[in-house]
Each structure stands twice: as structure tokens, then as C-alpha cells.
């Protein structure tokens, strides 16, 4: 991996509601190299969006450090953060809610540039046109409104909006989840093209592990606000080490009628963050849990070069399942 562009250490997030404290994220640590695409996967409520937003300080983390290109973001003042912001952009899941219905596409795309005071209005519009071309939309879209476009086209507009600021780092939060599969493939191909062409660094959030495998170099697996496993994609999919990763992969329905279906079905529900299990948070559903799992919080450890897992059982690696 190249020198990290982003270094996240012991990131935590708590919310206090009606006197009780909810721990949403705990001890989140990972790096993203320059030009690397890292996937963040986990089920609903596992904390993916909270990590993505905390990293860009769209919400304030409760503890921990986020270094971007050597600068500690959590210590920046509001105006310093505003200056740093164009280098990092967020792409939202919902292509319908994230674009204002009252603004033209041109206004939407140039808004960020205007706030940054970049160029004059003609130069800004030129950048917007160029960004539209990058996402394969006609440049004359600048005069139209979001409702005139389909879901896939709106998601392209969302991507173009992020690109006008020429960022180095993008957090893409479920950018294709709201799209139909035939359109999803168009947008995935586009994102991968752009990432390669522009050398973008990306944190790609998704609950779809097949999409993540296709687009990411490395993958972080989350469960109830804790990192369970981190591994290069090729290795994670061929040989998952953590019991949760195994179960997650096994639960994905395959369209291949010849795939053998001796799937492993996890029992029970995802616990609530208001009432997390002691020790390993996965233990209430883990098929490999032993009594000690209730007592020790597993640390995220490097068990092989580039492979990290948070599980106290070392006897489970390899293809045991």
C-alpha cells in the first residue's frame, strides 16, 4: 500500500438520548492509501454512514483521530475545515433527496465552487459542463432541473457535483443502492473509470458485498459499530477469517442455479446499540462463540500481513467453517 492519505485511529461516536448513552462507534482504526479504494460493509445500523460522515467532519466524532494528508482534521477550526473541504467530497445514497428541486443542475454543480470563491461565473459553469461530460451526461443539462432526470442520471449528477471541486478523496455512501440492477452497473462502471482516470482515493460504503468486491482494493467489515475484519478484497472473499464475515458472505443469495446452497444461517437479531452484548459484540449470533467471548473484548490484530481480525479464536483461520 502507498503512503496513507487517510489515517483513522480509535474513532468513537456516542449519542446521549434521554440520559442514556448509545455507543455507535468504538475503536475504529484504519488507513486508506493514496489512490486506494476501501470498502466499508456491514448491515443496517452498523455505523457505516456514521464513520463516513465523521471522517469528513460532517458530524463530530466523540473521540479519536482523523489525519488527512498529515493534517489532524479533528483539530481544525471551522474556517480551516472550510478551506480543506474541497479536497474531500461526499456522495449520497439517495439520488432523489440529495438534489434541490428548485435549482438548475448548473446551479447545483457550481454551488460548491461559488462558496469556495473559485473563478468567475463563466469559469464555474465551464467546470460544471466538464464534470457533466465526465459522468457521460450532455453539457446542456446545466439548464435543466433534477426532476427531469432518471434515478441513474441523478446519481451521475451527484457524482458530477462531487467532481467539480476536483477532490482527492471521496466518501461514496451507498451510491448505487437505490438504483435498479441494469442502471447500477452503468454507475459502478462509471465510478471505477473515474477513480482510475483521476487517481481518486475512495471510501466506498455499501451493504452489497458483490459490488464492493468489484470496486474495492480492501474491505473493512463492521458489526454493531466495531471493526470485525480488514483484508484485501481478493483475500477476504476467497478466505474470510472472521466468523461474521463468513456468515455475511454465505447469506448472499446467488443467481447461479448451480451454486450449492449449504448456507450458514445466523440465528437471532442484530442487538441494539442501547444494549450491546458484553465481550465480543457478535457473540450472541456467532456459531463459534465460546464462554470466554462474553468476557473479553477482542482487539483488532494483524494475524497475517495486511489481514486484521477482531476475534479471540485463533484456531479458526484457514478454511475451517
Amino acid at each position: 500500500m502507498s503512503a496513507p492519505l487517510l489515517e483513522v485511529r480509535d474513532l468513537a461516536k456516542q449519542y446521549t438520548t434521554r440520559g442514556s448513552t448509545l455507543t455507535i462507534l468504538q475503536n475504529i482504526s484504519f488507513d486508506i492509501g493514496k489512490g486506494e479504494v476501501v470498502g466499508l460493509v456491514g448491515e443496517s445500523g452498523s455505523g457505516k454512514t456514521t464513520i463516513g460522515r465523521s471522517v469528513l467532519r460532517l458530524i463530530e466524532p466523540s473521540a479519536g483521530s482523523v489525519r488527512f494528508d498529515g493534517t489532524e482534521l479533528t483539530e481544525l477550526s471551522a474556517s480551516q475545515m472550510r478551506r480543506a473541504r474541497p479536497r474531500m467530497q461526499y456522495i449520497f445514497q439517495d439520488p432523489f433527496a440529495s438534489l434541490s428541486p428548485r435549482m438548475t443542475i448548473g446551479e447545483i454543480l457550481t454551488e460548491g465552487l461559488k462558496i469556495q470563491g473559485t473563478g468567475n461565473s463563466k469559469e464555474r459553469l465551464d467546470r460544471a459542463r466538464k464534470a457533466l461530460e465526465q459522468v457521460d451526461l450532455p453539457a446542456d443539462a446545466v439548464n435543466r432541473y433534477a426532476h427531469e432526470f432518471s434515478g441513474g442520471q441523478r446519481q451521475r449528477i451527484g457524482i458530477a457535483r462531487a467532481l467539480t471541486l476536483q477532490p482527492e478523496f471521496i466518501v461514496a455512501d451507498e451510491p448505487v443502492s437505490a438504483l435498479d440492477v441494469s442502471i447500477q452497473a452503468q454507475v459502478i462502471n462509471l465510478l471505477r473509470d473515474l477513480q482510475q482516470r483521476l487517481g481518486l482515493t475512495m471510501l466506498f460504503i455499501s451493504h452489497d458485498l458483490a459490488v464492493v468486491e468489484y470496486i474495492c482494493d480492501r474491505v473493512i467489515v463492521l458489526y454493531l459499530g466495531r471493526v470485525m475484519e480488514i483484508a484485501p478484497s481478493a483475500e477476504l472473499y476467497a478466505d474470510p477469517h472472521h466468523p461474521y464475515t463468513r456468515a455475511l458472505l454465505s447469506a448472499i443469495p446467488s443467481p447461479d442455479p448451480d451454486a450449492h446452497r449449504n448456507r450458514q444461517i445466523l440465528k437471532g437479531d442484530i442487538p441494539s446499540p442501547a444494549n450491546p452484548p458484553s465481550g465480543c459484540v457478535f457473540r450472541t449470533r456467532c456459531p463459534k462463540a465460546i464462554s470466554r467471548c462474553a468476557e473479553v473484548v477482542p482487539e483488532l490484530r494483524e494475524t497475517a500481513p495486511g489481514r486484521f481480525k477482531a476475534c479471540i479464536r485463533d484456531d479458526l483461520n484457514g478454511s475451517v467453517s
Binding site: 459502478i188 462502471n189 447469506a251 443467481p255 445466523l266 449470533r285
Partner: protein
């Protein structure tokens, strides 16, 4: 085999229209489908293709003012063995069929659960209405049903309200409600779409088990091809209000004979294969363009503007369903070449 089993649902030439500002649109345009006892038919397609309108039409749950069945028949074999055309029944007769002969499950469990009644009250209600059971025995039946759908501690859960259950548990509760009167047909419209993948696996497993035990016919609506392969015996692929390909899942997925089905299968990243594709520099085979608007349908094959096999002839008329094999059909005039 399944084909020999008795037909429970038989839909012929179903056409459903909606009144919109600009006039009328045809959301479902001549659908034929049948489901036998013990069989699962998956209706699959992208959003707006007409899956839900088809299932709502079968259940006669369209709001009269905006949508209506314009043509076709929906024959259902009831528990007493009598076959009725649901299209011609009165609303009162339909009410005696829904929840009794037909069980229903929807994407959002909360849409079938009433927040102000306990789970137990809601599951025992159909038993009291359709079976005339008394309160106590209906409640006992509800507890046993909750137990069958895998809700632990059922005797305590019947006293809880929907908001006290997780999403997966609520969906289990609506399944219990749908099964309360032992329906001959279960209609499930995207029952796992709102659930997490590990919970989806639980629910699919449960539905499969219950269906096998009870020998129900199941019409399963989904947009997820993986879920289809997981749960269904046969599949009908919908595009723009029509079935474009249908047959046994194994045949259709292994050997698709309609360019749309081929495109859908190819555009899905496949677990385990994505690493290879990435390393080989291969791209996902996206289908270009988008679904046509119902207001502005192409004259011939609706898929023609997006189809890489299209020829002049494809624009002339809507292709009929061709027999690829006795049970496998494709609505493509070039099915032999694709």
C-alpha cells in the same frame, strides 16, 4: 414434478390500467401466469415493470378511483376445491378470500401491522373472522403460529406491540398472520427487500420450509435475481408491463433466451467473480439507456431501444411469447440467435 400438481392460481390476459392526468396508462399489459400447489413462481423485474400492480390485481387491492383491471381473468382454486374468477367477485366476496384462501406479505411489515393492537390480537383476528374461533383458542393458535415462524418466547410476544419488535421479527409476525388460516396461495411482494442480508436468509429459509410443509402455492415478487434462484421453482421476468421470459429457474438462468434477461444477469456483479473481472480489467455488462415510460412506449418490442440484437423487424409489432422448450418461453423474435 410440479407441473402435475393442481393449479391454484391461473391468470390469463390480465391488463391493468391507471387513470393519470394525461389520460390512461397500461401498467400491466396481458399477463398470463399460473402457480400450482407446492410451487413457487417468482415475478422478477426492475422497479416500475408492473410486479406489484400484478400482485395487487390478483388480490383485487387496487384503489378503484385510480386503477382497475381492464381485461383478463384471475382463477383461484379455493380451499373447498371450487374455482372462482376473482375479477368478477364482489368486494364482500373478496374479503372472505383475502386472509383465508390467500395470505399476503408485503415489503414493509408495518404496512400490514396495526401499531395500536398487540401482535397476538392481529394474528388471531383472521382466525376469529374466517374460522369463527373464540378468543382463547384463536390466541392459542396465534402463539403456536409465532412459534412456527421462529419467534422465541411466543407466549410473551403475543402481548407486545409491533414497535417492540425488530424489523425481522415484524416480518415473521406478518408471515404468521398470512398463514393463520392455512391459505392455498401465499402472495409475497418483496418480503425481504427491506431486511438485512443475514435476516433475509432467515426469512427465505422460513418461507421455503413453511411452503414445503403446507404445500401452498407461492407467488413471490422480487427485483433480486439471487433471491429468485434461492426460492423459486419457476420465474417470470417482467419488462414494461409484460412477461418477456418465463420458465423453470434453472433453464432461464442457465440458458436465458431473451436479451433483457441476459442483460440483467450479466449486469449483476457476482460474488467471487468480481475479483477475477477486476484483475482482467473487465467491465460489468450494463444495459444501456433506461426503461421506457408507460406514456411513451415503443411500437414494437419494448426492449428494442436498449437491445443490442435489435433489427428493423423488432419495431414492427410486439413479439409474442415463443416456445423455447415446452415450459420455457421468450418474447423475442430473435430468441434462436441470442
Amino acid at each position: 414434478m410440479q407441473q402435475a400438481a393442481e393449479t391454484i392460481l391461473d391468470v390469463k390476459g390480465l391488463r391493468t390500467v391507471f387513470r393519470v392526468r394525461a389520460g390512461e396508462v397500461t401498467a400491466v399489459n396481458g399477463i398470463d401466469l399460473s402457480v400450482a400447489a407446492g410451487e413457487t413462481l417468482a415475478l422478477v423485474g426492475e422497479s416500475g415493470s408492473g410486479k406489484s400492480v400484478t400482485s395487487l390485481s390478483v388480490m383485487r387491492l387496487l384503489t378503484r378511483k385510480i386503477g382497475a383491471i381492464a381485461a383478463g381473468s384471475v382463477h383461484l382454486k379455493r380451499k373447498d376445491g371450487k374455482v372462482r374468477d376473482l375479477v368478477s367477485l364482489s368486494e364482500q366476496e373478496m374479503r372472505s378470500i383475502r386472509g383465508d384462501d390467500i395470505g399476503m406479505i408485503f415489503q414493509e411489515p408495518m404496512s400490514s401491522l396495526n401499531p395500536v393492537y398487540t401482535i397476538g390480537d392481529q394474528i388471531s383476528e383472521p382466525i376469529r373472522i374466517h374460522r369463527g374461533a373464540d378468543r382463547k383458542s384463536a390466541m392459542d393458535a396465534a402463539i403456536s403460529l409465532l412459534d412456527q415462524v421462529g419467534i422465541p418466547d411466543a407466549a410473551r410476544r403475543v402481548k407486545q406491540y409491533p414497535h417492540e419488535l425488530s424489523g425481522g421479527m415484524r416480518q415473521r409476525a406478518t408471515i404468521a398472520m398470512a398463514l393463520a388460516c392455512d391459505p392455498t396461495l401465499l402472495i409475497a411482494d418483496e418480503p425481504t427487500t427491506a431486511l438485512d442480508v443475514t435476516i433475509q436468509a432467515q426469512i427465505l429459509d422460513l418461507l421455503q420450509k413453511l411452503q414445503r410443509e403446507r404445500g401452498m402455492a407461492m407467488l413471490f415478487v422480487t427485483h433480486n435475481l439471487g433471491v429468485v434462484a434461492e426460492i423459486a421453482h419457476r420465474v417470470a421476468v417482467m419488462y414494461a408491463g409484460r412477461i418477456v421470459e418465463t420458465g423453470p429457474v434453472v433453464d432461464v438462468f442457465r440458458n436465458p433466451k431473451h436479451p433483457y434477461t441476459m442483460g440483467l444477469l450479466a449486469s449483476m456483479p457476482k460474488l467471487g467473480d468480481a475479483t477475477r473481472m477486476k484483475q482482467a480489467g473487465e467491465k460489468l455488462a450494463a444495459i444501456p439507456g433506461m426503461v421506457p415510460s408507460l406514456m411513451n412506449m415503443p411500437a414494437g418490442c419494448a426492449f428494442e431501444p436498449r437491445c443490442k440484437f435489435a433489427t428493423e423487424d423488432c419495431r414492427k409489432a410486439v413479439p409474442p411469447l415463443f416456445d423455447v422448450s415446452p415450459h420455457h418461453k421468450s418474447r423475442c423474435i430473435h430468441w434462436q440467435e441470442v
